[in-house]
């Protein structure tokens, strides 16, 4: 066999093996951080109100996401400081895109 092997560790033991496509392309299902704000529907960002470094209260408007002809308000889920803004006006975003990180 001239196969190239990867390693998989289980209980402290490293096994030489291969990975199928489904495993390699799997979605990482980690619990998102409390302050991570992602799109729940694909659409277009029509307005961004939150700026990096800005202090926000839970429920404050972060941006407007237009999807299926509706203007959706995207609100801050928690109190905190906007650490990162990943979107700008006019961005077309698919579902589950990270838009803001609040710390």
């Amino acid at each position: 066999m001239n196969e190239k092997y990867d390693e998989l560790e289980i209980d402290g033991v490293s096994y030489k093996t291969t990975f199928p496509r489904k495993f390699l392309e799997r979605k990482q299902r980690a619990i998102p951080a409390a302050g991570a704000v992602s799109t729940y529907i694909p659409g277009t960002i029509v307005e961004v109100l939150a700026r990096e470094g800005q202090e926000v209260k839970g429920g404050e408007l972060l941006c407007i996401l237009e999807a299926m002809k509706m203007r959706n308000k995207v609100l801050a889920p928690v109190d905190g400081i906007v650490a990162r803004v990943h979107v700008k006006r006019g961005d077309k975003v698919p579902k589950n895109t990270l838009m803001f990180e609040i710390e």
């Binding site: 209980d11 033991v13 291969t18 496509r21």
Partner: protein, 514 residues
Amino acid sequence: MSLKRNVLDLRKRKEIALQGGGEEAIKKQAAMGKLTARERIEAILDKNSFHEYDMFVEHQAKDFDMDKKVFHGDGVIIGTGTIYGEPVCIYAQDFTVAGGSLGLMHARKISKIMDHALKMHVPLIGINDSGGARIQEGVDSLAGYGDIFFRNTQASGVIPQLSVILGPCAGGAVYSPALTDFVFVVDNISKMFITGPEVVKTVLGEEISMEELGGARVHSEISGNAHFFALTEQECFEQIKKLLTFLPWSNRVKARPFPPRNPRAEYNIEKIVPADPTQPYDVRDVIRAVADDSDFLEVQQAFAPNIVVGFGRIHGETIGFVANQPRVMAGVLDCDSSDKAGRFIRFCDAFNIPLVTLEDMPGYLPGAEQEYAGVIRHGAKVLYAYSEATVPKITVILRKAYGGGYIAMNSRHLKADFMFAWPTAEIAVMGPEGAANIIFRKEILSAENPEETRKAKVAEYREKFANPYVAASKGYIDSVIEPEETRKILIHAIEVSSNKTVMTPAKKHGIPPF
């Protein structure tokens, strides 16, 4: 008057019905690389064995100008015939007639041949090639699907049911194949999905092609809905015929025995498996080294390849093989491989096919992704299926049998009839490294040279527990065998189990963790 005129009239009527959707539609079908429904049936069955019924059935819809349209046979062909001389029931949707759409009479024909198959205890082969429900017939077409699903369920575990997807099979229609035992797909021809690419685009804004959404490769590799993948229709028909040689015609009989044959010499069992339990090999070669003529028909080859399931023969008798595959993901159990094994075990049990399990696995796949996907309830299916099975159950532990995996893979504790182990077997709660780290944690941490102590403790644990003899000393393993003896011992074990009877508690049915 002679009968001649009536006979000529009959012939003319048949000729018209045999035209199906007409020359133009048949040309279109051919342009898509597809055979017609009748050509498919003839290619699967023994030559000249097909007898068609309900050729003159027509739809009875009146709305939307349907009363002015004639659909020959209402878009489906049903009948009986033989495969290698044995009777089967078959139906094939005819895409050339109204796109193979399913209306009341179309469904009634399918139900008729299903009832016949169940009554006569012969396998059912269903060829799907249909645009879906005939919308003009409204709720009647939904009723038709329901009637078919009900019959699929009634026949489940009584007769083998094979679904062949040779065209679109979308929406509710997918559930008949899903309820049957084996689904066959052909590259670029089969398309299966609940909602098509247009709906996906409208609702989710995601662009996806039909092939990416529900093509043959997707269902063979990712979703696990298909069991056999072929590149051409002809290859698919060969797979169907080959599979049927391994199966009994119903749950009341055993599969026909074949003349026993020795495995081929190129599969030398001594040379396949490395002694080091972290090194990979292809467990299918071990199956081929014990199976008659080294002939192994793998089921769901590309889906969850960390477990291998399929049919072979030992001394002429059909055997269901279940084997961990160290070559892929170290042979771990996970959600997909548990589903795959659980379903296969239940098929074998329902159809009197003895199970041979080849075990070499380090445990379950760790990680949040697996836990969230429900590895607990999926993994439980393997335990359930093995515990419930009353056919002869034989296990050979080749190397690793750790923790929950040891219990799940047809252990003595789930009532395996015979437990064999190679001298390379390691039966323990976990591998020596992990176990030593836990048991000797304090000693390792407080040692002057922790790494050296750790290595010494791992070696100590390995020496004591990483072998088959602890389990053998407790009677959990019946016999530690040399790899070379494996086939001989399997032949014997199957022979002495041939009259196995088990009393199970009376119940309506169990509740497996679906």
